[in-house]
Symmetry: C2
Subunit: 354 residues, 2 copies
């Protein structure tokens, strides 16, 4: 497709102190936009200056949660080139999310072209300090200008980009997690497997309560039996129990994470099988009690690997691996970030150079 480019006549100064970047706070000079309606389909792909959106007060996105998104990163290699990690996975997941929310499908090759051309234009915004990257946020929303509840006839797709700091400025410190037994994030048959706004809106209250009690995030249990481990905060979760690597299987209420998938595939390439299965909180508590829980970590795009050092369940606090990062967690972190930043050979075909 032919992407029309309108350059920003007033480019901003790029940040010099990457230690102050944080996450998703500042944005680059442009954004990619693409418009859809039920008559014309997707049309008018364009890169325009980054600016506020003009949205009708009755727009579907403001009332009925008609919104999906993705998150991925562009990384600067030592040779100065910029690359993305498994963008095709984000593209496919976005179409799956769209199907669940009755938003339009996007041709994979067009979306890939949009990502590559947009990142190429903005690549100078990719910082080069250790652990930093250019975070890419594709998102789509329903945009009918009326209040009826139905599948939309108008939608907008946008990509914005934000240079982000290192997740681990002070090293991979293990986090404290609280097992949530009141609020539910998602349920089988609902939207848990889709990356959509409603899942995050449902998560905030428990996250805030945990934070007030000194925890970083919550560990979610399934919405049906309130028994099986699902996710940690907005990340997938993995455990090493008595030598077995376990991660909750994708039952429909869990986000099919790309870092999760990469961990499984990477470990498999080293001859280590990951059990994707149901894991009850009782089994986990028992493993913590008898000392067979060797390691626990969250995995997601932002942190890659986030070691869990303490789990609180029903007011009982369990310390995992002496509150230190485990050997396997460290190995996964080093290997996957190595591929992402181009320091380790990509034997998997995961990297897309821009």
């Amino acid at each position: 497709m032919d992407i029309k480019v309108t350059l920003n006549p007033n480019p901003k100064a790029k940040p010099t102190d990457t230690s102050a970047l944080g996450f998703g706070q500042i944005f680059t000079d442009h954004m990619f936009r693409w418009t859809w309606n039920s008559e014309e389909g997707w049309h008018n792909p364009r890169i325009v200056p980054f600016e506020n959106l003009s949205i009708h007060p009755a727009s579907t996105v403001l009332h009925y949660g008609s919104e999906i998104f993705e998150g991925l990163k562009a990384y600067r290699r030592a040779d100065g080139k910029v690359q993305m990690f498994r963008p095709i996975e984000n593209i496919r997941r976005m179409n799956n999310s769209a199907e669940r929310l009755c938003l339009p499908q996007m041709p994979e090759e067009d979306l890939m072209q949009a990502l590559v051309e947009f990142v190429r234009l903005e690549q100078d915004w990719t910082p080069s300090d250790k652990g930093t990257s250019l975070y890419l946020r594709p998102f789509m929303f329903g945009n009918d200008e009326s209040l009826g509840v139905h599948a939309v006839h108008n939608a907008e797709f946008i990509i914005i980009a934000s240079p982000v700091g290192s997740y681990y400025k002070e090293g991979l410190n293990p986090v404290k997690i609280m097992i949530e037994d009141q609020d539910v994030r998602a349920v089988r048959g609902g939207t848990g497997y889709a990356k959509c706004g409603g899942n995050y809106a449902a998560s905030n209250r428990a996250g805030e309560r945990a934070e007030q009690q000194g925890y970083s995030q919550v560990l979610w249990l399934d919405g049906v039996e309130r028994k099986y481990i699902e996710e940690v905060g907005a990340m997938n979760v993995m455990f090493k129990i008595n030598g077995e690597i376990v991660t909750p299987k994708l039952t429909g209420s869990i986000l099919p994470g790309i870092t999760r998938k990469s961990c499984i595939e990477f470990l498999k390439s080293e001859g280590i099988e990951v059990s994707e299965r149901l894991l009850s909180v009782e089994e986990l508590a028992q493993a913590m009690t008898d000392g067979t829980l060797e390691e626990a970590w969250g995995c997601g795009t932002a942190a890659v690997i986030s070691p869990i050092g303490e789990l609180c369940y029903k007011d009982h606090k369990y310390i995992i691996n002496n509150n230190e990062i485990g050997e396997l967690s460290q190995h996964l972190y080093d290997s996957i970030t190595g591929i992402q930043w181009g320091e380790v050979e990509d034997k998997f075909g995961w990297i897309v150079e821009v």
Copy 2:
């Protein structure tokens, strides 16, 4: 509070053909706006010309479903005056929704003042033909301009208004409903009781599938056991089974509807008890089979009472009350709409004149 008013210098012509109004398609000349941040709290209440909103591409509402709303109506009485129906109930529910989504609370009296002053200014937009009204849509959204997932520090509250046509231009025709056994709208512990975007986003796909098969809407089952009746489309649901009036009890995944509450209170005033209890789909199917299901109806702000004439469950089609509106459904419709439009005495204190 002091609401600053900026009049629209270019007011639109009001619609003359109310039969073409539909629902939420055209909007009045103004909107009420109120801004919140964690430092100043709510500030700058104002009525301004209706126009598009300027929203940052990273705003919370576009990514994380941080949005709640209400729906209520202003009705024109025969004497020309305009009145609202139980607005305090909408105000309280909106604060409950806000709590679930970590959005800020609003003082009840300020919100009531905003509603009354706004409707007073726009009251000429309230149509007078039978069954027509001025639909009011208060909504609030999180508006941080960054991509971190957490409780917001900025929010916007807005009221827009839309003259709407009669829901029943051709009389109260019973609708065909399909019992949904795949998708789930909400689950206990989730956001089902809050009027928030995510619930509606989760509902669209099943609604579309039902429509393609010739049904108006779906009947939702609970997310845990997929067994108990919850809502119908975006309405609450009631049944008359062998003389007993039954409506699903508010377990946390069901919206506490104001029309639902009004039906219960009105019937109580006539000496008729409504059983708020669990009602399984098997019990309902049995009642349809043995002919003891006498009436079934949805209840909500848009339709008030929507009689159900046909229910499809597992490919079996059941006809209810000969596909005609039942006596009790008609009585409820006449009584509640009578109070809403000022034709029946309000013994309950439900009406607020503007």
